[in-house]
C-alpha cells in the first residue's frame, strides 16, 4: 500500500494492547502465551480491550474504525490522545511516541495537534456557542481578542454564523455537534479524533453532517480518525476502514477492498449481512419534500407553486407540517374555477410510508402509485418524498461501492 504517492504518515499505531484491571502485567503474559480473552477474563478478571493493534493514518485521510459495540474501537481512539493509557505498544504522532511522553509534553501535543469530537457532543452548558468553540484556545492561554477571532472563523466554517451567542442547550442535536466540531477545529489540530460523532443524530441530519464533514475535509485536509458502528457511515466517509472485532483489527482497507475481498469469514459475514435494500430505509433514500401547500391556503397558491416548480401535484400539510393530503393540477384548476378551498378538493386517502420502512418494501409500494410517495415520521410530519429514480440511484451507488459485477 505504501507507494511513492502516499502522503506523510501522521499517526502510527504499533502493537498496541490495552488490558483493563489492577495488574495488567500478568494478563499480558497470559496473552503472549496465546490464551484467549475469555480465558484471561475467567482466570485473572482482567479485560483485554485491545490486542496487538497496528495501523497507520496518512495526512488528508479519513480513517474509520468500525465494529460492533464492545469491540474496543472507542478505547483505541482514546489511546491515541491517551485519555486511556495503553498497556503496551507505541503510538507515534508525527513521529513522536505519545505513550512515553511526560505530562507537559502530553498537554502540549493535545493542545496543538489533537482535536476530539464526542458522541454526546459534550458541550459546556454554562458557555455560549462562541465560548465553547474558543475553549481549546482558552486552555492554550491565547488572549480573548485573538481567540474570539479564530473561533469566529471556525463557527463560520461549520455554518453556525448568527448563533455565536446562543445557549448550547437550546440548539438542535445537529447544531450542537456543529459546535463540537467547530471547537475541535478552532485549535487547528493536525489530527481529528471523532468518537461516534454522528451516532446520536437523526438519520437526515446525520447525512447532512456527513456531507458537511466531507466538505470541510476537502478544504482542510486533516487526518481524521472516525469511530462508528454503522457500516453505511463507514463506507460513505472512510478513505480506509479498519474493521474491528474483540479488540483486534480484522481487516484494513478501502470500502471496496472490504466489500469485495473480505479477508476472512467474519468480514464476509459482516458485509454480507448488508442486503442493501433491507438495510437502507426510506429515510436514507428520500429527497427533500420540495414545495408543499398549507391546508388553509387558497387553490391559487397551489396552482402558482405547481407552475413555478413544474409539479403536477402537491402535498398538503397542516399544523406542524403534518401531512393532510394531496392536490393535483386538474383539481387545483377546478377549484380555482369553483372557488372552493384546498381543504375540500384534496385527496386524503393517500398512501404514505414511514421513515423506517426498508427500501425493499418501498419498491413494492412505489409500483402502484401515480405520483411520488410521501415519507412521514412518527408524528405524521412530512419528512421527504421518494421517487423511483431516487431509490434506483441510491441502490446503484451502493452496488457500485459493493463492486458487484
Amino acid at each position: 500500500m505504501n507507494n511513492d504517492e502516499t502522503p506523510a504518515i501522521v499517526v502510527e499505531v504499533r502493537n498496541v494492547t490495552k488490558i483493563f484491571g489492577p495488574k495488567p502485567e500478568k494478563a499480558s503474559q497470559l496473552l503472549e502465551e496465546g490464551r484467549t480473552k475469555t480465558e484471561i477474563l475467567e482466570k485473572t478478571n482482567h479485560v483485554v480491550a485491545l490486542q496487538d493493534v497496528s495501523f497507520t493514518v496518512h495526512e488528508g485521510e479519513i480513517f474509520v474504525l468500525m465494529g460492533l459495540s464492545g469491540c474496543g474501537k472507542s478505547t483505541l481512539l482514546r489511546c491515541i490522545n491517551r485519555l486511556i493509557d495503553p498497556t503496551s505498544g507505541a503510538i507515534l504522532i508525527e513521529g513522536t511516541d505519545i505513550v512515553t511522553m511526560d505530562e507537559d509534553e502530553l498537554k502540549q501535543i493535545r493542545r496543538e495537534r489533537l482535536g476530539m469530537v464526542f458522541q454526546s457532543f459534550a458541550l459546556l452548558p454554562h458557555r455560549s456557542v462562541m465560548d465553547n468553540v474558543a475553549f481549546g484556545l482558552e486552555i492554550r492561554g491565547i488572549s480573548r481578542e485573538e481567540r474570539l477571532k479564530t473561533a469566529q472563523s471556525a463557527v463560520e466554517l461549520v455554518g453556525l454564523s448568527g448563533y455565536e451567542q446562543s445557549i448550547t442547550q437550546e440548539l438542535s442535536g445537529g447544531m450542537q455537534q456543529r459546535v463540537g466540531l467547530a471547537r475541535a477545529l478552532a485549535s487547528d489540530p493536525d489530527i481529528l479524533l471523532m468518537d461516534e460523532a454522528f451516532s446520536a443524530l437523526d438519520p437526515m441530519i446525520r447525512r447532512d453532517m456527513q456531507d458537511e464533514l466531507l466538505d470541510i475535509q476537502d478544504r482542510l485536509g486533516k487526518a481524521i480518525i472516525f469511530v462508528t458502528h454503522d457500516l453505511d457511515e463507514a463506507l460513505k466517509l472512510g478513505d480506509r476502514i479498519a474493521l474491528m472485532k474483540d479488540g483486534r483489527i480484522i481487516q484494513v482497507g478501502t470500502a471496496e477492498d472490504i466489500l469485495t475481498n473480505p479477508e476472512n469469514e467474519y468480514v464476509e459475514r459482516f458485509v454480507a449481512d448488508v442486503d442493501i435494500s433491507k438495510v437502507l430505509t426510506a429515510a436514507d433514500v428520500m429527497k427533500h419534500p420540495g414545495p408543499t401547500v398549507y391546508i388553509n391556503d387558497g387553490p391559487r397558491v397551489a396552482l402558482h407553486l405547481m407552475e413555478e416548480h413544474g409539479h403536477s401535484c402537491l402535498f398538503v400539510v397542516g399544523k406542524n407540517r403534518k401531512l393532510e393530503g394531496v392536490v393535483t393540477l386538474d383539481d387545483a384548476i377546478e377549484a380555482v374555477k369553483k372557488q372552493i378551498p384546498i381543504r375540500d378538493i384534496m385527496k386524503t386517502d393517500i398512501q404514505v410510508i414511514s421513515t423506517s420502512t426498508p427500501v425493499s418494501e418501498v419498491i413494492t409500494q412505489l409500483a402502484g402509485v401515480p405520483h411520488h410517495l410521501p415519507v412521514v415520521d412518527d408524528s405524521g410530519k412530512i419528512a421527504g418524498i421518494v421517487l423511483p429514480s431516487t431509490v434506483i440511484s441510491a441502490l446503484a451507488r451502493k452496488e457500485g461501492s459493493n463492486g458487484v459485477a
Binding site: 485519555l83 502530553l106 493535545r110 496543538e112 482535536g115 476530539m116 475553549f135 481549546g136 486552555i139 485549535s187
Partner: protein, 277 residues
C-alpha cells in the same frame, strides 16, 4: 463479663493532649474567630436599623435579578423583627451564622473538591462526615467549651462542625456527577488540573455546590439555640431564656425572628443557585 472499653478516658486524654500541646493553635483560632464575629456584628449594627433593612432589601433585589416580591418580603420580615425589639439580637445571630458559614465553606469546599479527585480521601471522609452529622450536636459543645471557653467563639466552632458536612458532600457529589465526556473534553484539549477544575468542573457542578451552601447555612441557623447553651449571644439565647422561664411569649418571638432570617437566607441562596445554573 468483659471490662468496659476505656473510650471515655481515651477521649479525655486526647482532649488533654490537644490542650497541652496545641494551646497556641487554639488561641490563634479563637482570636481569628472572635475578630470575624465582632467585625460582622459591628458592620450589621453600624447603621440605624431602618438603613440596614433597606440595604438588605436592595441586596435581595439585586441578587434575585429584580424579584421585587422577595425584596418586599425581606424588608417586611426585618421590620417585624425590628418591631419586636429583637433587632440587636437578630444581627448578633446573623453575624454568628455568617461567620460559621464562611468558615465551614472555606474548609468544606476545598475538602469536597479534593475528595472528588481522590477516591481514598472520599472513602476515608465518608465515615467522618456520617459521624459529624449523626453525633448529637450537644456533644460538640463539650470540647468546644474545653478548648475555647464560653461565648461566641465555641458556639461558632460547634456550628461549623455541624454545618460543614453537606458542603463537603455536595461539592464532592456535584463534581463526581459531571458526565465523563465533559471531563474528557478538558483532558483532550490539554487542560491542566487547575484549568479543568475552574473552567469545567466547578461551573458544571455549581447548582449542586450551591445546594450544599444553602444546606450549610440552614444547618448553621438551626444550631443557634444549641450554641446559646455555651454562651453564644443572639436570638438563640433569647429562646433559651424563654425555656428557662417557661415564657412562651419570649420564646415564640425569638423563634419567629430565627424563622424570618432563615427564609430570607434560604431564598437568597436558592436564587443564586438558579441564576448560576
Amino acid at each position: 463479663m468483659l471490662p468496659k472499653l476505656p473510650l471515655g478516658e481515651a477521649v479525655e486524654w486526647l482532649v488533654d493532649m490537644i490542650e497541652l500541646y496545641l494551646g497556641w493553635l487554639l488561641d490563634g483560632i479563637s482570636d481569628v474567630l472572635g475578630f470575624l464575629i465582632d467585625a460582622f456584628q459591628d458592620l450589621l449594627l453600624a447603621a440605624p436599623p431602618l438603613v440596614t433593612i433597606l440595604v438588605f432589601g436592595v441586596i435581595v433585589f439585586l441578587v434575585t435579578r429584580r424579584d421585587w416580591k422577595l425584596a418586599v418580603l425581606t424588608v417586611a420580615g426585618l421590620l417585624v423583627i425590628w418591631n419586636l425589639e429583637l433587632w440587636k439580637l437578630s444581627m448578633e445571630t446573623l453575624a454568628l451564622v455568617v461567620s460559621a458559614t464562611i468558615i465551614a465553606l472555606l474548609i468544606g469546599l476545598p475538602v469536597g473538591i479534593l475528595a472528588s479527585m481522590y477516591d481514598y480521601l472520599d472513602s476515608g471522609l465518608r465515615p467522618v462526615l456520617d459521624f459529624m452529622q449523626t453525633m448529637p450536636s450537644f456533644v460538640y459543645l463539650i470540647p468546644a467549651v474545653i478548648f475555647f471557653g464560653l461565648g461566641n467563639v465555641p458556639g461558632v466552632v460547634a456550628t461549623v462542625i455541624f454545618a460543614m458536612p453537606p458542603a463537603i458532600r455536595l461539592t464532592n457529589l456535584g463534581i463526581r456527577q459531571i458526565p465523563k465526556e465533559l471531563n474528557e473534553v478538558a483532558d483532550s484539549f490539554g487542560a491542566t488540573t487547575m484549568q479543568k477544575l475552574i473552567k469545567v468542573q466547578l461551573p458544571v457542578a455549581m447548582p449542586t455546590i450551591m445546594a450544599g451552601v444553602n444546606q450549610c447555612i440552614m444547618l448553621a441557623l438551626s444550631m443557634t439555640v444549641i450554641a446559646a447553651m455555651i454562651g453564644a449571644l443572639g436570638l438563640g439565647y433569647q429562646v433559651l431564656v424563654g425555656i428557662q422561664r417557661v415564657d412562651i411569649g419570649t420564646g415564640f418571638e425569638a423563634g419567629l425572628a430565627i424563622v424570618i432570617i432563615a427564609i430570607i437566607l434560604d431564598r437568597i441562596t436558592q436564587n443564586l443557585t438558579r441564576s448560576s445554573a
